[in-house]
Structure formats: structure tokens, C-alpha cells
């Protein structure tokens, strides 16, 4: 019998940690991982609220979020590979031209 608000606080903490990681890290792959942490924090909030509301609809949303995150990871990592092939670097500040 754990209060659901504990899970909510944990999700807020994880989201803020994801923001911190996104700003501190300089390479594209780790920044991308920080985005995944934020997505997971949002998933935790969705599931906590589904439990609080007593309805499984929040869990269905989380299912969709996980699917979209998988698609996003595939395309994002493909773009990172392309950037690496062109620039031989994956640091964010090396990407400042619109044209390769």
C-alpha cells in the first residue's frame, strides 16, 4: 500500500534529471538517451495516474509512447550515423550548418 504520490514525485525527479543530462552532455547519443529518460518519466506519471484513476486507459497511452519511442530511436540513430559519416564527430556544437 504505497501512496501513488511517491511514484509521481519519482517521475518528476527523473524528468528533471533528464533535463540536466540533456544540457550537460555534449554528444548527440547521450543527449538522445536523456530524451529517453524524460519519456520514461512521463510514462511513470501516466501509469501512476492510471492507478489513481482506476482506469487502464493510461496504460494504453504508455504502450503507444513506447512504440513511438522505438520508431524515434531508429530514425534518430540513423540520423546520428549520417552526421558521424559526414563530420567524423557527434558533438552537438559541430553541427552548425544547415547544409552538410
Amino acid at each position: 500500500m504505497i501512496p501513488v504520490s511517491y511514484f509521481f514525485i519519482l517521475s518528476i525527479l527523473l524528468f528533471v534529471l533528464g533535463i540536466i543530462a540533456f544540457f550537460i552532455k555534449r554528444d548527440l547519443i547521450t543527449m538522445f538517451m536523456a530524451v529517453e529518460i524524460m519519456l520514461n518519466a512521463a510514462n511513470l506519471a501516466f501509469i501512476a495516474l492510471a492507478k489513481a484513476a482506476g482506469s487502464p486507459a493510461g496504460q494504453v497511452i504508455v504502450f503507444f509512447v513506447i512504440t513511438v519511442a522505438a520508431a524515434e530511436a531508429a530514425v534518430g540513430l540513423a540520423i546520428i550515423m549520417l552526421v558521424f559519416r559526414q563530420k567524423k564527430s557527434i558533438k552537438a556544437e559541430d553541427m552548425r550548418l544547415m547544409k552538410g
Binding site: I2, S55, P56
Partner: protein, 165 residues
């Protein structure tokens, strides 16, 4: 017992996210993230969502992070990240994070006690979720399959090396 599991999993989760932030090596970061996602799967199980817990561990900790590790191995960068301007971003990140934390806590402060506790009747059985997916959420479900096809084809087209003309 429930409290013990919650605090153990929450500690592992936050600790491995901190490890991911502090580690200089991208492969170590990815492995820390696998640990964080696995313990989040355990937390989903505590919140009465066994199906989502299994999906989290299979897809997130399994498939997505394996993809990350593949790309890290293909890229294989030796040099770390240059230290200059790091103080500046650290300060910006700290200020933003503190403001966001205060704002979020203020936003949910009113509904603190109304959320109830875990336990009680079960809501997230795979049967119930499957029924919802194929009735109320049928259109999003079908659109998701189109999205995955598009992402798959897009990723292949992007990474494919061009033939020499």
C-alpha cells in the same frame, strides 16, 4: 515489503540515471540506462501494470538500448568531451532544473493526497489492455503500425550507403 521494494527500485533507478550523467564513456552510460529502465519496469509492476512492465523490459531495456549500443560500437569515438564551456552549461542546467522542479512540485501540490495508494482491485490485466487496444484505441493502434513502417523504411534509406556512380 511494498515500501522496501519501492525505495529499492527508486534508489536503483535514480542512482543509475546519476551514473549515466556522471559517466564519461557512452557505452557505460547506455548500460546504466538499461539498469534504470529495468528498475522502472519493476516500478510499473508495483503500480499494477504487469503487461506494461513486461513491454518496458522487453522493448526499452532490450530492443531500444541494444540499438543504442550498436550505434555506439559502430561510431566508436575515443576522445571524451572537451571540458571548455562545461561550467557554463552546468550552471544553466542547474538553474533550469531547479526552476522546473519547483514549478512541477507547486503544480501538483494541491492534489497530493487525492491520489490514493497502490493495491486494491487490479486494473492492468493483459486481457483488459488487449480489449481496449482493439476497441476504443483501434485507430491509434493502426496508425502506430503505419508509423513503424515509415520509421523502418526511413532508417534504412537514411543509413544505406550510396552506390558509386
Amino acid at each position: 515489503m511494498g515500501y522496501f521494494l519501492f525505495f529499492l527500485l527508486a534508489f536503483i533507478c535514480v542512482g543509475s540515471v546519476l551514473g549515466m550523467i556522471l559517466s564519461k564513456n557512452q557505452a557505460h552510460s547506455a548500460l546504466f540506462l538499461v539498469l534504470a529502465f529495468a528498475s522502472l519496469g519493476g516500478l510499473f509492476g508495483l503500480l499494477d501494470a504487469p503487461f506494461i512492465a513486461a513491454v518496458q523490459i522487453i522493448i526499452y531495456a532490450g530492443a531500444i538500448m541494444v540499438l543504442f549500443i550498436f550505434v555506439i560500437m559502430m561510431i566508436n569515438l575515443e576522445q571524451g568531451i572537451s571540458p571548455e564551456r562545461k561550467k557554463w552549461t552546468l550552471g544553466l542546467a542547474g538553474v533550469l532544473a531547479v526552476f522546473l522542479l519547483i514549478e512541477l512540485i507547486l503544480a501538483i501540490r494541491g492534489s497530493w493526497g487525492d491520489l490514493g495508494t497502490t493495491g486494491g482491485e487490479s486494473i492492468g490485466s493483459p486481457t483488459e489492455l488487449g480489449r481496449l487496444l482493439f476497441t476504443d484505441y483501434l485507430y491509434p493502434f493502426e496508425i502506430t503500425s503505419v508509423l513503424i513502417i515509415a520509421a523502418l523504411v526511413g532508417a534504412i534509406v537514411l543509413v544505406k550507403r550510396k552506390e558509386k556512380e
